[in-house]
């Protein structure tokens, strides 16, 4: 079994117009910048993107949006130090936004991966984000029904990967990545280093390979925060 993919361009080749894509990361940490840039190079349109944020500066997710490739964002916090790209398009009515509380976003993605079509959460009960949603009472408290969230593709960033697709992460770059890996029809991870099967201790695997379809080695991956401090623009 060898899930290794040689080039990022090959990894994103199946992402056509209208695809729903989960992109890992929380702000810049854990954002698969090289996979996103490969996706920009590929150029599909009308994407629905699921990410906690809506990009920052002019690289990564912000650049994807800037290229006009994104029809809809599903996220919790589309503000950032420099959210100009998304803000302009949103205020011009050129991009759709579904705002989801962060914990609900995480749980909906987990539910998608775990075969749980719906669950109840106290989050957002009584607020405008619960409007139109089912409410139920359990043990004297009110909860909102939320649905699972799945995607056609997940593009994630990990630290080590083996040919079976087992993954580890690096510090807080873990965030949404292991969840998104489980909730997409096809999951591709960029990893800092590919190691032989067995080199990742079975106790330390965070994402078991069953959730992963492809891995691409990207040594020394770019950090969104550093790129933005340098004023980088992609492409």
């Amino acid at each position: 079994m060898n899930k290794t993919i040689a080039f990022a361009s090959e990894a994103v080749a199946g992402i056509g117009d209208g695809t729903t894509v989960m992109i890992g990361g929380f702000g810049g940490s854990g954002a698969p910048i090289e996979l996103i840039h490969a996706l920009i190079d590929a150029g599909p349109k009308n994407l629905t993107i699921i990410n906690n944020n809506a990009g920052n500066g002019h690289v990564g997710l912000a650049a994807l949006i800037e290229q006009g490739m994104v029809a809809k964002m599903i996220c919790s916090f589309p503000r950032s130090a420099d959210p100009k790209v998304f803000t302009d398009l949103y205020l011009a009515g050129k991009i759709e936004l579904e705002i989801v509380p962060q914990g609900t976003l995480a749980e909906r993605i987990r539910a998608g991966g775990a075969g749980i079509p719906a669950f109840y959460t106290p989050t957002s009960y009584g607020t405008e984000l619960a409007e139109g949603k089912l409410v139920a009472e359990f043990e004297g408290r009110h909860y909102v029904q939320e649905r699972w969230l799945k995607a056609d593709f997940a593009l994630i960033k990990a630290e080590l990967g083996d040919p079976l697709g087992n993954l580890t992460y690096r510090m807080a770059a873990r965030n949404f990545n292991p969840l998104m890996a489980t909730a997409a029809t096809r999951t591709v991870a960029q990893v800092t280093r590919i190691v032989a099967a067995g080199e990742i201790d079975p106790e330390q695997v965070v994402t078991p390979g069953i959730f992963v379809d492809g891995i691409v080695e990207v040594p020394d991956p770019e950090q969104e925060e550093s790129l933005n401090r340098e004023g980088a623009v992609y492409p």
Binding site: A114, G198, P202, P208, I210
Partner: protein, 228 residues
């Protein structure tokens, strides 16, 4: 008829061998406790299969030698196992996320009864005693293919493939293929479709020990297995 079937029919090992031939290269597979576990022994050469067990291991291998057991390393049947390179441990909720979330390619289970609509009964004989379900009701949902390995008839010679199950159900409409001691049968659109049968067995004889109509779509191949 019953006596003739007994001499004709495949052994458990042969049923397991036949089921093993359908495991695809790169498949993630859960083999149910007991009889289905035997399938791993017949994994075809050159095909990589990753085995999942409900209690939190992916990528396990054969049993260790007697005396070499580590009782922290067991499968769902509580038998000692070993690890292959690239194995992973995880907790029970993640393990059943793999099952329920549709990440397994194949689950193979035993059966008391299978109905032509794909219903499966394999957890309770409906009599008294202590009920116990384990992971059976989870495993029938989520895997892309849910196959059954079973004798074609009960010890008393009664059909196990039926129009409707009489015993308590494990899952509705979940079985996609049945490997029996006499035939290989798919469940398609609520009907049993015969794919392979023992060459020595006439269609009529097979039908006579099957509790629901066997449809034929296209060729019926010979069910050919080695001596084991």
């Amino acid at each position: 008829m019953s006596a003739a079937l007994d001499t004709l029919k495949l052994s458990s090992a042969q049923i397991a061998w036949r089921a093993a031939q359908d495991m695809e290269d790169g498949a993630y597979v859960n083999l149910g406790i007991g009889f289905p576990e035997m399938i791993a022994k017949f994994q075809p050469e050159g095909r990589d299969v990753v085995y999942h067990t409900e209690n939190g291991v992916l990528g396990f291998g054969e049993a260790p030698a007697a005396g070499e057991e580590d009782w922290d390393l067991i499968n769902a049947g509580k038998k000692a196992i070993t690890l292959k390179p690239g194995a992973a441990f995880f907790h029970h909720a993640d393990s059943f996320a793999m099952v329920r979330g549709g990440h397994l390619d194949l689950a193979v289970l035993g059966a008391y009864q299978v109905a032509e609509n794909g219903d499966l009964a394999n957890w309770s004989t409906g009599k008294g005693g202590v009920p116990a379900v384990g992971g059976a009701m989870d495993l029938v949902h989520g895997a892309k293919r849910v196959a059954v390995v079973t004798d074609h008839v009960t010890r008393k010679g009664e059909p196990k493939l039926l129009k409707r199950c009489a015993l308590p159900l494990t899952g509705l409409g979940c079985v996609t293929r049945v490997y029996t001691s006499l035939a290989v049968i798919d469940v398609e659109d609520g009907r049993f479709v015969l794919r392979e049968k023992l060459p020595q067995l006439s269609f009529e004889d097979l039908q006579s020990v099957t509790g629901a109509e066997l449809k034929i779509h296209g060729d019926v191949a010979d069910l050919a297995v080695p001596e084991l």
